[in-house]
Amino acid sequence: MSDIVIKVEELTKEYRLGTISHGTLKEDLQSWWARLRGKEDPNSLVSHPSSLPRRQGLNPHFLALDKVSFEIKRGEAVGIIGRNGAGKSTLLKILSEVTAPSGGTVKIRGRVASLLEVGTGFHPELTGRENIYLNGTILGMKRAEIQRKFDEIVAFAEIDQFIDTPVKRYSSGMYVRLAFAVAAHLDPEILIVDEVLSVGDASFQKKCLGKMEDVSKGEGRTVLFVSHNLTAIQNFCTTTMYLQGGKLVAVGKTATIVERYLGDCLSSTALVWEGNHEPNEYLTITRAKIVKARSESDEIYINEEFRIDITVEVVKQVADIAFEIFVKTLDGIVVFNSFTDCMNLGRGSSVASCHIPGNLLNNGHFTITVVISKNFSYWLVKIEDALAVDLLSCPEGTGWQGDCPGVVRPKLLWTV
């Protein structure tokens, strides 16, 4: 028997932006009627092969994965890294059969369990016990299997005294612990894990990673692991794949690949963002920009103030929204999250600016995620890592010029 447990050949996933299905019967009938009479489809985005797309600059075909091929051997722990939108999640979705590819093949040997989310199918009214069984079977376990591992699961989740309480009364930490515990005790030959460890507290994350390590090293199972947490990838994965824009750009030893990825990230400071994001009915962010307080050069030093300008175009008056930013390190660790109060915005364009003082962040590379939330309850727009900035150590003559450990480097008052 061969050692290869996953063989992916020329895997392609295409999403069609624009109108494939119109969503309402009326428009479909219109299109159908037009085609029947040999006329131009009134709802088609690309009306004739010869004519141009109606909206310029919008490519109706978007390749989330572009001819990706690789092989994974039994017992390997493989990390998948790449920026947002590189196709990591799409790849995992296809491997776990949530969606079908548009081209290419995937061949798998052995049972696959995928953990794209923690607690899929949990029902708030059911007790912890009932949810263990339900969630376990959804993930592909048999009842008898769950019965056998039940005590282990409960012990891992550390919730023994609440096992017969409905999970809606659980704290979010308990909920996550229980959910991960179920998934961790699946016994698949291949385990697929998406960024699920970002939830839960640090000690629990450590425990989860430990468990995953046992699964891969101790029990000889294959693990595929997507994470923004490069430290976790480095500790845990022997091999790493690096995806960029739907293409597999590098596969190899984790240390080498992570280094390359970091190199790519560092060279790509993005002081301005002017892209497209998922539409909503109220507003669009047209621009996000990092602006220096004193603009002699492009460099920003750690003792200098800078601000982040977010320009929005409001198409429909909207109430109770707040601007937010998340400042993250390259490892994906959130340094801080800052937001405005809830406000109402009328139609037209507005700019929100967040002032980040000097002497706060340490030197290094930071990404900034821009968010507009509504009612403080959900995200209307979220642009992950929209901006990236390199902060430099202080210029000459203004203090210690070397590196300091830590994520922040605040200037504090000292008395001697």
């Binding site: 063989k7 969503g23 093949t105 079977t137 959804i138 048999k142």
Partner: protein, 287 residues
């Protein structure tokens, strides 16, 4: 390892391709996931009754009240005949069977939209969800059926003009057929609602209309003979009529009528499952 090994699909547990045939149904997987079906049934059953005072009695209340209303409106005011059967019994027989069918159809028709969250995160045979919905409705039916039997015994004891007969033995088959019909049509609609959200608005209303095209508030004998062939294109009509004939001895039923109904059921179930299986592979990209 040699390369011919690698190219042979039978060497692999699973091969995922862009397009697989229309008939790649993988129904066998459902059996592997039977525990999931049972737990889904349990989940819905438990969550319906948690924090309700009356619990299963709610399911008795609805046919009871409907029976009273139908008796007053269609029996007393509109004076629609009931083939000599006591009116409450006549209506309740219809309501109980109709509820089962309508329940199956209603609960399976939003499979994709209602389970978007789970379906987007984990793979399991999607049919497990509508199948469990049919089983839940069967349980609800059982509760309501007990009520119907109680009525039946009461009227039998009073010596009313009712004659339960050998057709009773068909009950399991009738239930199976109604379940299959509800399931087939339900998964078909749920596959279409992904594309046409409008349909979901129509389902509730459509089911109501459909009830009036089925002998629930009137006996089939009221339908003019020359229109009966078209009437029987409604596969539920024959089932309801057979059910009533079996328990109450009223009305007429012929084997060919049941045959037509069974044929339509098999067709709808087949088409429904084929389209459902086709849609489940890519529906996450459209919602």
């Amino acid at each position: 390892m040699n390369s011919s090994d690698e190219n042979d699909d039978s060497q692999w547990t699973k091969v995922i391709r862009a397009r697989s045939g229309w008939f790649d149904l993988r129904l066998g997987e459902l059996w592997d996931y039977r525990d999931l079906i049972i737990l889904l049934v349990r989940r819905d059953f438990v969550t319906i009754y948690k924090q309700t005072v009356l619990g299963p009695f709610w399911f008795m209340l609805q046919p009871l009240i409907s029976t009273v209303i139908f008796t007053v409106i269609f029996g007393k005011i509109a004076n629609i005949p009931t083939d000599g059967v006591p009116q409450p019994l006549f209506y309740m027989g219809g309501i109980v069977t109709w509820n089962y069918f309508a329940g199956c159809l209603n609960r399976t028709s939003d499979t994709f939209v209602a389970n978007e969250g789970i379906f987007g995160k984990v793979y399991f045979p999607r049919l497990a969800v509508p199948l469990s919905a049919v089983i839940i409705n069967l349980l609800n039916f059982a509760i309501q059926f007990v009520l119907f039997l109680a009525f039946l015994l009461f009227f039998l004891a009073r010596g009313s003009n009712i004659h339960p007969n050998g057709w009773l033995l068909l009950t399991p088959l009738l239930l199976l057929q109604m379940g299959a019909l509800g399931l087939g049509l339900g998964v078909l609609i749920s596959s279409l609602t992904i594309k046409y959200r409008d349909l979901s608005f129509f389902v509730g209303f459509g089911i109501q209309l459909w009830m009036y095209a089925t002998p629930i508030v009137y006996p089939m004998s009221q339908v003019p003979v020359k229109w009966q062939w078209i009437y029987l294109l409604n596969p539920v009509a024959a089932i309801v009529e057979t059910f009533r004939y079996a328990y109450l001895g009223s009305g007429t039923i012929r084997f060919w009528q049941l045959g037509v109904s069974a044929g339509i059921t098999v067709l709808l179930l087949g088409v429904g499952i084929v389209i459902f299986s086709r849609v489940q592979k890519t529906f996450m990209d459209t919602v």
